[in-house]
């Protein structure tokens, strides 16, 4: 199957790609699906970093594919275990294929959304607003991956309703904190361009602070609301 026809199928009917346990299908389509996922994410990353120059753009184009790829794959064993516990067992290959097909679909959406994010960022948008726009875009484009992964859990079973929300919750938490570790994607206006920033506080306190800042309240700009999960004790 060519990458073009696979792209069409991923956009039109991703379930047709994902809902099989066939090792041959997984071996054949995994490489092109990976290319679609990583390529789309790199484009969105480049757009996100574009407001701070080409170097930041390149850094974000490297890091966003990692943010795209790692969390859904990290939670696969958990999904497998949850499905077993909830009496709806699902095979490893089916899970892997669903994750890859979902990521490819999200990658294609990310590529489509990249110009939409790049345009406001190129117009000197407020930093905090840019962060929220980036987070919103990222959440929107990754929804298909979550949806396809949740559909990999077979129907039936008395506790399926537990397995799917649990998957969404855990995946959301892992994505949020991975993104926090890999930041900055949208760099602060006067900050030095850097590949990674030190881990301080956690993503939730930062999102609270940036939401207030976007609304014009700068009293606690980027001051974490609590110490965070991984506190740097050397600074105390």
């Amino acid at each position: 199957m060519s990458i073009l026809s696979l792209t069409t199928q991923v956009l039109r009917d991703p379930d047709a790609v994902a809902q099989t346990d066939d090792p041959r299908t997984l071996a054949q389509v995994a490489p092109p699906l990976l290319v679609l996922a990583l390529g789309g994410a790199a484009l969105l990353g480049a757009a996100a970093g574009s407001g701070h120059g080409p170097l930041q753009s390149a850094f974000a184009a490297v890091k966003l594919p990692a943010l795209f790829l790692a969390p859904p794959l990290v939670v696969l064993p958990l999904v497998h275990a949850l499905a077993e516990v909830c009496e709806v067992p699902v095979g490893w290959r089916r899970l892997g294929l669903s994750a890859m097909a979902g990521l490819a679909r999200s990658g294609l959406l990310a590529a489509a959304a990249a110009p939409l994010l790049w345009l406001p960022l190129s117009l000197d948008t407020d930093y905090h607003l840019a962060i929220l726009m980036f987070v919103g875009t990222f959440m929107t484009v990754t929804m298909p991956a979550l949806s396809l992964l949740s559909r990999a859990v077979p129907r039936g079973g008395t506790l399926r309703w537990v397995a799917v929300p649990a998957l969404a919750l855990v995946l959301g938490l892992v994505v949020a904190q991975t993104g926090w570790v890999l930041r900055p994607f949208v760099a602060r206006p006067r900050a030095e361009v850097t590949f990674l920033r030190p881990v301080e506080a956690d993503v939730f306190s930062a999102l609270g602070a940036t939401s207030r800042s976007a609304a014009g309240d700068y009293r606690q700009d980027w001051a974490p609301e609590r110490a965070g999960v991984w506190r740097d004790r050397s600074r105390e």
Binding site: R24, L26, L69, E87, W92, A99, R155, P198, V199
Partner: protein, 182 residues
């Protein structure tokens, strides 16, 4: 640990595991792009570690789509009726594999018979008859799988799983016998 150190450490560990899985897949005979993909996306591809190269390199024959659809429908029916736990899933996967292998052999025979030189040979008629018999057997197993789905509906109402398991065991034996037929 600094953010950079943590992220880079995790990244290196991820790639190291991915490289190990990729090497294992390559040694197993998987295509090079698949093995390379495993370096980055190894959790999605570890399921291939148990698969033989024959499983993944198998040609799709004339019944490939129907076989895939039949087993997908059967698995969906098992899940919907909550009977997945009552069926031997590895045996079901083995049955599917046996059918796909038989289907791939049909494809190879079709290619042979399409060659005019082979078609003119004295043994071609016998080969054609054997091909027709194997195809009939595959058709029969696929028809029986529909019957199993009907039985699953009855089991959902009546609760006796014995006939379904016996039927699937019989079909499994029939699918395995396809290797001898072919």
């Amino acid at each position: 640990m600094s953010g950079s150190g943590l992220a880079l450490g995790l990244g290196v560990a991820w790639l190291a595991v991915g490289a190990a899985v990729g090497v294992a897949l390559a040694r197993q005979g998987q295509p090079r792009p698949t093995a390379l993909s495993a370096v980055l996306a190894w959790p999605a591809l570890v399921g291939l570690l148990g698969a033989t190269p024959e499983d993944t390199a198998m040609t799709a024959g004339p019944y490939a789509e129907r076989i895939a659809a039949a087993f997908q429908a059967l698995r969906a029916a098992l899940a919907e009726t909550g009977l997945t736990a009552t069926v031997d899933l590895p045996a079901l996967a083995a049955m599917e594999l046996a059918l796909r292998r038989a289907d791939a052999r049909l494809c190879a025979v079709d290619r042979l018979l399409a060659d005019e030189a082979v078609a003119r040979d004295a043994g071609a008629e016998r080969l054609g008859a054997a091909r027709a018999h194997a195809a009939e057997e595959i058709e029969a197993v696929l028809r029986q799988l529909v019957t199993v789905r009907v039985q699953l509906g009855l089991v959902a109402l009546a609760g006796d799983t014995g006939p379904v398991r016996a039927h699937l065991a019989e079909l499994g034996a029939r699918a395995r016998a396809l290797a001898e037929v072919a």
